[in-house]
């Protein structure tokens, strides 16, 4: 036998190995069998239920995920993945929104022109603005579809009744995010849509100057719920700044906190609901 030392395989042999994929297991065997490897890693990964749990639970990025899930949780026909899609769209608006903040100034003189600047003079500005806009629109749709699915499947019933309540708040904050974002382009549509929208606050019981019981509280058009929202008596620059702060800071923070609770409750209430 003249097989001393490494043998150079023939081309045909090598091609066979590549074609059959055997080359990968060969390479893996070479690496994991080497002294360097075996000296660093004393034993391999044991694919046991305990290790699987630990892999998820002890990873800061993964620990929000369930360590185990039901087979039915993957049934797209049951959940439509609407909650997950809503969250994905939320993340898209956060990322594109932060990018837009690099150019947009919430000042009466600048806001409209910054929006136009983003659209026509900033590379990929149009893409970012439209992604933000369409993700926001889509999020409103998917959040309603998610609610519709939860209602139809009866997933709002105990033990998930508390999460339904959190979800109702999240729908509200989604709509508020859309409404506050509506003003920021600072064009005619924005002005009048928000004028009409905030006019409703005039009719708030106790706190709106045209609402029931206003006379007992003594609110005036200058000091009522609507003035609080728009920082004055007409939709002007103070309203723009106020809506900007609400849109970029306050509502996302509150909605984010509620999302954390929402996702956590899913685990605590027995995972994603499934068909009975």
């Amino acid at each position: 036998m003249a097989t001393k030392g490494p043998q150079i395989p023939s081309i045909a042999e090598l091609m066979d190995k590549i074609k059959s994929g055997k080359i990968f297991s060969d390479i893996a065997k070479e690496i994991t069998g080497s002294q360097l490897w075996t000296s660093s890693f004393r034993h391999g990964y044991a694919d046991t239920p305990r290790n699987r749990v630990l892999q998820i639970a002890s990873n800061v990025w993964l620990h929000l995920h369930p360590v185990k899930m039901h087979r039915h949780a993957l049934r797209i026909k049951f959940t439509w993945c609407m909650g997950g899609i809503t969250f994905l769209l939320f993340l898209s608006t956060v990322v594109t929104g932060v990018i837009l903040m690099f150019y947009y100034r919430p000042v009466g003189e600048y806001a409209y022109y910054d929006m136009k600047y983003l659209q026509y003079d900033v590379p990929f500005g149009m893409l970012m603005r439209n992604m933000h806009r369409w993700a926001a629109h889509a999020m409103v749709i998917t959040v309603w579809l998610h609610m519709f699915r939860v209602f139809l499947t009866g997933s709002y019933k105990p033990p998930r009744e508390f999460n339904w309540v959190i979800g109702v708040f999240l729908v509200t904050f989604t709509l508020l995010l859309s409404f506050t974002g509506y003003l920021l382009p600072w064009d005619q549509l924005a002005m009048w849509a928000v004028t009409v929208g905030t006019n409703m606050a005039r009719a708030t019981p106790f706190l709106g100057n045209e609402g029931p019981f206003a006379e007992f509280v003594g609110v005036t058009p200058r000091y009522d719920a609507r003035a609080l929202l728009i920082g004055g008596s007409v939709v002007g620059p103070p309203a723009l700044l106020r809506f900007y702060v609400l849109h970029c800071i306050f509502i996302p923070l509150v909605a984010g906190a509620l999302m954390i609770v929402h996702f956590w409750r899913i685990r605590k209430d027995g995972g994603i609901s499934g068909p009975l």
Partner: protein, 175 residues
């Protein structure tokens, strides 16, 4: 003896309703919540500035003799969004805001009515709604006389027919 005294003292401490620890804990929480509540009030007040950079709701509208009896003045509709109307009794101010969805109606002199271009609401010269979707009459605004005899219009004070306010003081300037 000394041991017994020590025990007595310990029991005294236990017997008090509020231990020192309880007292400081409650005092701490009370001052924290108090400070939080107070700063919330400050914040709520902070959101209502003392000065607004907005057009004043009050404007001067010339002398009563500028207006002819039985006519609707469209002099201020563009700048101030009001009509000034004079009848045999006096002068009143109608707010040019359609009570349907908030467009500005137009005064049609030949048809003797205010007509809203958006959805066709019609109002009589006095502001009563008589056609179209508007659910209530046009609103009237406060009118008064300055010491120099000029008319003062205050758009922040409204008089609503449905609340029976068209006869209230300030709703009409009797001349």
């Amino acid at each position: 003896m000394a041991e017994a005294k020590g025990k007595e003292k310990k029991e005294e401490v236990v017997d008090t309703i509020w231990s020192r620890r309880d007292f400081f804990s409650l005092a701490g929480w009370a001052s924290f919540l108090g400070a939080l509540g107070l700063s919330s009030l400050y914040f709520a007040r902070l959101l209502f500035p003392r000065v607004l950079f907005e057009p004043s709701p009050v404007f001067m509208a010339g002398f009563p003799s500028d207006y002819t009896v039985g006519a609707v003045s469209t002099k201020y509709i563009k700048d101030q969004r009001v009509w000034i109307v004079r009848d045999e009794e006096g002068i009143y101010v109608i707010f040019g805001l359609c009570t349907h969805l908030g467009c500005t109606p137009r005064w049609l002199n030949t048809e003797n009515k205010y007509k809203c271009p958006c959805h066709g609401s019609g109002f009589t010269k006095e502001g009563m709604h008589f056609e179209g979707p508007a659910p209530r009459p046009l609103e009237r605004l406060k009118i008064s006389l300055a010491p120099d005899g000029r008319i003062i219009v205050d758009k922040s004070k409204k008089f609503l027919w449905e609340k029976g306010q068209w006869g209230d003081p300030g709703s009409k300037l009797l001349v």
